[in-house]
């Protein structure tokens, strides 16, 4: 049979979470098909067709799918599900929202946030905020899986899949999109940035996050935050890194004024290099940091900004 990957996109751009999920899907059941559901998203379908290993792209282009509302995604996925023995989505807010509905309707368990495909029916996944790793074997039948994309490499370019338009499915009429307030930023996206610099409660205010922003712009880094900083209202929810926020694994993670609660570590401990700045030398973050600096962040951040300037890191918001 084949596997079906639910594409993550915003109708204009295909997220690289999709190509990463394709990598996982190819290990579960090849060939891989990708479902692009959206509105005026032909370009996204064309981009998905170029992912290596993708045999076919299903395109459902309709106002019904503009915001990937879970109820309409459920009926759409179920309308094509017979042809597949595995359905995978990246563990994004869209994937987490709709995929359990599909699993329930198929009467199969969902396997959430897989870290590794050991065999087509056996997977590793994190439990207890990543403090334990479970190896689970799925029963015979269709597999419904969300994928932690930070641990899978993106499938490359070079594909030449056919794009097939598919019919819309019934609208259950139980829910509809009613608005959004998305954060706008010129910085790289948190989950795919090469460098992430995050602030915690130690920043003390939203205003003080500007100190982080300056350093972030010099390093072309994304800016994140601990739950404590989001709960305190310093920055919006989409900044949150942690067990229930975003999981990141950049080349460099700089934690500033973050003590290192278990649920925060769950979201960043797979980063290649971790640096931490905290004035409390006993802060748990130092136990996992490759480089620790015990310092007052209100001195260290401006100093880092100056020092980076001296070393030729310009303050242009880059890619």
């Amino acid at each position: 049979m084949a596997s079906l990957v639910i594409a993550e996109h915003n109708n204009q751009t295909l997220s690289d979470a999709t190509a990463k999920t394709v990598t996982a899907a190819a290990a579960v059941s090849a060939p891989v098909h990708v479902l692009v559901a959206g509105q005026n998203c032909d370009g996204v379908a064309q981009a998905a067709a170029k992912i290596a290993g993708v045999e076919k792209v299903l395109l459902a282009d309709d106002a019904l799918y503009a915001k990937m509302v879970a109820e309409t995604m459920e009926t759409l996925i179920l309308s094509v599900v017979d042809k597949y023995d595995a359905i995978l989505a990246p563990a994004t807010s869209n994937g987490k929202n709709c995929l359990p509905r599909v699993a329930a309707k198929l009467d199969v368990p969902q396997i959430s946030e897989i870290l590794k495909v050991i065999s087509p029916d056996t997977f590793e996944r994190p439990i207890y905020a990543g403090n334990a790793i479970q190896t689970v074997q799925a029963p015979a039948g269709k597999k419904v899986i969300t994928v932690r994309t930070t641990v899978f490499p993106a499938a490359g370019d070079g594909g030449n899949a056919v794009v097939e338009k598919i019919a819309t499915a019934a609208d259950p009429g139980t829910a509809k999109f009613a608005g959004e307030a998305l954060s706008k930023s010129d910085r790289p996206e948190l989950t795919s940035a090469r460098i992430v610099i995050s602030g915690g409660r130690g920043l003390g205010s939203g205003e003080n996050f500007k100190l982080l922003d300056k350093v972030a712009d010099r390093l072309h880094a994304a800016v994140g935050a601990s739950r404590a900083a989001v709960d305190a209202g310093y920055v919006p929810n989409d900044y949150q890194v942690g067990q229930t926020g975003k999981v990141v694994a950049p080349d460099l993670y700089i934690a500033v004024g973050i003590s290192g609660a278990i649920q925060h570590l769950a979201g960043m401990k797979d980063s290649k290099v971790i640096a931490a700045i905290n004035k409390d030398e006993d802060a748990p973050i130092f136990q996992i940091a490759d480089y620790g600096l015990v310092a007052d962040l209100f001195q260290a951040l401006p100093e880092m900004d100056e020092e980076l300037a001296k070393r030729g890191y310009g303050q242009d918001k880059g890619t």
Partner: protein, 249 residues
């Protein structure tokens, strides 16, 4: 309108879990157990709706071992009116939980079910969505804000890019995210009062649900450990190390 709030008994979020040496799971012996934090937020939201007069009754449900009655008592002390304990030992997977909840929903006819978005033990993030699908209801997951209207609800949701609002027809399912509210601590008089509130005891069999796990857990292991690194003395030294030693800037 009634509101149904499922609550799960889990290892307290402050406890550092230990993986058992035989790799069969994590050590639950003599470990502090509490209500799943997202479920506390769900109870709080339901109780606030009742206090505002928008809801007539708040029913808490827990599916788990006999001790899950303590979790229900916590919900009752926060302000829920009555509890239902569905006794089941061992792991009950989200799909089985959703099937039991579906049967309870059909019996109780709530206008809204509020669940936590995920339990902090298995981190599945499935039950609310599965229940919504089984019932054919609309859902507002990862809720940041709830506004109830006649026959519908506007639910503002925390999504990857920021916030999104959906309008769902009632009855519906809502799953809670962290910023929906700040749960109260139960006062001593309310803890005492909660002891007199009724808890009905049931079994999965009463609802015709088989809770045998469908996923086979082959093993549970510890994640790879990170070695602690070095302390640096200055910002300049930190940048030197990041550039020359780690090669990441």
């Amino acid at each position: 309108m009634k509101v149904l709030v499922p609550v799960k008994r889990v290892i307290d979020y402050n406890v550092k879990v230990r993986v058992k040496a035989d790799q069969t799971g994590v050590d639950l012996a003599n470990v502090k157990m509490s209500m799943n934090p997202f479920d506390e937020i769900a109870v709080e939201e339901a109780v606030r709706l009742k206090e505002k007069g928008k809801v007539a009754e708040v029913i808490a449900v827990s599916i788990g071992p006999a001790q899950a009655s303590e979790t229900l008592r916590t919900a009752l002390a926060m302000g829920a009116d009555r509890g239902i304990l569905v006794k089941a030992d061992g792991e009950v997977e989200p799909l089985a939980v959703a099937k039991i909840l579906k049967a309870i929903v059909e019996a109780e006819q709530p206008g809204l079910v509020i669940t936590g978005k995920q339990a902090i033990d298995d981190d599945s993030n499935q039950t609310g969505q599965m229940l919504a699908a089984l019932l054919g209801w609309g859902q507002g997951t990862f809720a940041h804000k709830l506004e109830l209207a006649e026959g519908s609800a506007r639910i503002e949701r925390e999504v990857d890019g920021g916030l999104q609002t959906v309008e769902v027809k009632l009855p519906a399912i809502m799953t809670t995210d962290l910023r929906l509210n700040e749960p109260r601590y139960a006062s001593l008089p309310n803890i005492m009062k909660a002891k007199k509130k009724p808890i009905a005891e049931k079994t999965p069999g009463d609802y015709g649900v088989d809770t045998t796990p469908r996923l086979k857990i082959l093993k549970v292991t510890e994640p790879a450990k990170r070695a602690a690194g070095v302390k640096v003395k200055s910002v300049a030294e930190l940048l030197d190390k990041l550039k020359n030693e780690a090669g990441v800037i």
